[in-house]
Symmetry: C3
Subunit: 304 residues, 3 copies
């Protein structure tokens, strides 16, 4: 691995390597001898993701450069390319970027010599969120083969629905989609289901956030919950050992009934803990220069 940009480019071997590595990150707290320097460039606000990267970086002993795009030279009209070149020149060893432009990284790959970790690009991808969802499922079932995953809600505006669907399908899971017609993405080649029917069958119910701030029209929250969300009644019909995921922040009472956010089968806060481990695994992998895919494969074999 050289960067982390799109899930499509992460091989299945690399995914399993990262799953195993994330597991081993639980006890990692030792700083490097010569500390690595990581810059977090968030051009869009994102408390959760930014803090999660920060914890991961600090637990790995990295020095963190916190780049606040709101107070930066960007206001002087500096391009993303020049900003990242600056950060490279200042001595950073890698850069985490969230940017509202889809595939912003394309303009960087020529001139920039740093590993780039995609922290979210427009409506494109959010690969570490995908990896933490995978890790949470993997921790639960120790396999993806045959696992039934229902992705429910605002599929169209979600930054994780598409890459989650494709990657889970690639890994052998059975993916289904339960969403309002207006928020469907017709390019996704997966079976459509009604949440009401699917709760009894699925192993993983992956709820998506209603992105109020991205919609012009507002949803009547109680209607949404009844028709498309996880009500108390539906949760009761879910089968034993099935789990609930949500990328957070949760709209309590819209995607999910308030009282279910911390119910027994909810892994919503567990996902956040897992996010730190997965990001540690990604960072440590990208910053250990000599590592090749062969090693990844070998290491996975010896681990699994």
């Amino acid at each position: 691995m050289r960067h982390l940009l799109r899930m499509e480019e992460v091989t299945t071997d690399e995914i399993f390597y990262l799953m195993e590595k994330a597991k081993r990150m639980e006890d990692v707290f030792e700083p490097f001898q010569k500390p690595k320097i990581i810059a977090n460039l968030f051009y869009e606000p994102s408390t959760r993701t930014k803090l999660s990267f920060e914890v991961a970086e600090k637990r790995l002993g990295y020095h963190v450069l916190d780049f606040d795009a709101a107070h930066s030279s960007v206001r002087k009209g500096e391009s993303l390319y020049d900003t990242v070149k600056t950060i490279e020149s200042l001595g950073a060893d890698a850069v985490v970027i969230r940017h509202r432009q889809n595939a912003y990284y394309n303009e960087l790959l020529q001139g920039v010599d740093l590993p780039i970790i995609n922290g979210g690009d427009g409506t494109g991808e959010h690969p570490t969120q995908c990896l933490l969802d995978l890790f949470t499922i993997y921790e639960e079932f120790r396999t993806f083969k045959g696992i039934n995953v229902v992705i429910a809600g605002d599929v169209l505006h979600s930054r994780v629905a598409r890459s989650n669907a494709h990657t889970l399908s690639r890994l052998g899971a059975q993916v289904q989609i339960a969403c309002p017609n207006v928020w469907d993405d017709p390019t996704l080649p997966y079976e459509r289901v009604a949440i009401d029917d699917s709760v009894e069958r699925c192993d993983v119910l992956m709820l998506l956030r209603v992105q109020h701030e991205r919609h012009e029209y507002t949803t009547q929250s109680s209607d949404y919950l009844e028709t498309y969300g996880l009500t108390i009644e539906r949760e009761r019909r879910m089968r034993e050992r099935s789990i609930i995921l949500h990328p957070a922040p949760v709209n309590r009472g819209i995607e999910i009934h308030d009282s279910l956010v911390e119910c027994e089968r909810s892994r919503i806060f567990k996902q956040m803990s897992n996010g730190v481990l997965v990001r540690m695994a990604v960072l440590d992998t990208l910053l250990s220069k000599g590592e090749r895919n062969d090693d990844v494969t070998n290491q996975r074999r010896s681990l699994v």
Copy 2:
């Protein structure tokens, strides 16, 4: 101690334990083996308190998560509870919170498993400010018994006047209040005095900040200084060894004459240095899990 929320809940033994511990913090600079992670959640701006906590945390070797509420998911309508749960899930070992809502912590105590350090709640309390005032007095007189403390100024809007008055009184100090009638708090059962009379008697003159930003009406500054503030003439009449406190930032020329801010009996900047030590003592106490009140008592006895 489990949290630090209100002074009323801090026992006298615990207060003395913290006083002694703060003293010993002066030489503490070693990081922990496995670094603790602390999140600072400031929903209201507060340079001084925030930086003071930050220095304390860094001197203890903690990793600091700096949560900027202005650029956070709060804008997506996330509740304080969900934010703190997120921070807990990310692996924080404790959280410092300043919030404009009085007793904001009540909604957290059920579901949150982290120690909470109250960095100021609305017009409620600011317990580490209280502790640093106590520490500054204790460092000076080595006792609270019989010490005459005059609290002067905007008592009504102050976040420290009430808890300082109650706690000092509990510890044996003689508390008096010198304030404009419009800014009096009738629930405080302490003797009212005029500053002009009290300067010759008091051991501690605790000036409060005129909170321009909280008042609709503005005070004529020169009038205020003459009637309620510390003029050069009044300072001259103060007795030997008596000291001046102020929580800062100071309105120079309003609560106190400009030239007195750094006069010999002023402990205003000393209070800031002491604030770091007291916060180190609080953090180290709350984060050393096994410690019980018995130990606190024993330790105090062996120390005093």
Copy 3:
């Protein structure tokens, strides 16, 4: 050295000492035993300078206090003096300040006991930028004597043109100025040249940024490039081993043709790397208390 405020006060010996010290900073990554605490007070936004100081400080093992003037007690009307006194009281060992007021440091020198590093004062100076320009030239030519430096562009509004010109001249370089008449500074006693004539003669072409945000009138960018900037044709006429400097951020296509920013003779990104080393050298020098100018001189002699 006690502070770093204006280049005029930095002796030639001290400059060479810092040049040599910057060179040796490349391998410095060890933290101090008792970590130093540095506060960065930026009252004006400056990504580049702030991040550069931050990297330098972290590589030296310092704890960094990041003071965001936009969210601070400054809004409560606190003076710069009181803020810096607060930072000193909190235990900082030095302070880096950028402020829009020229010579802001004059009001601090009486009461403040901390080393002050000037990160830019209004239209005054930006001494670490000057030092990094010097270092970049020195690294290239190992001397300043007889080096022809052409400073080209918006001399009048530049924070570095004046101190660079004076300091380079003092060190033996031959300084010339190529600028539009409206942006000339008549107090600078150096020869005026046209960029078109000078490119063939100069060893160092020091381009300045067109400060759009400081001008009322706007320049037609293509006109500016043709008349005053570095075109492809002009770069071709530059002599072997001559180099291009620019303080950045670059207005691509205005001061310099887009394709030349990373050309072989450009040291623009190298300047940023050098900035970290120079700032490490300054910080380490100012924070090693016992050091005197004599030592500086001796050390330089033994080094050169």
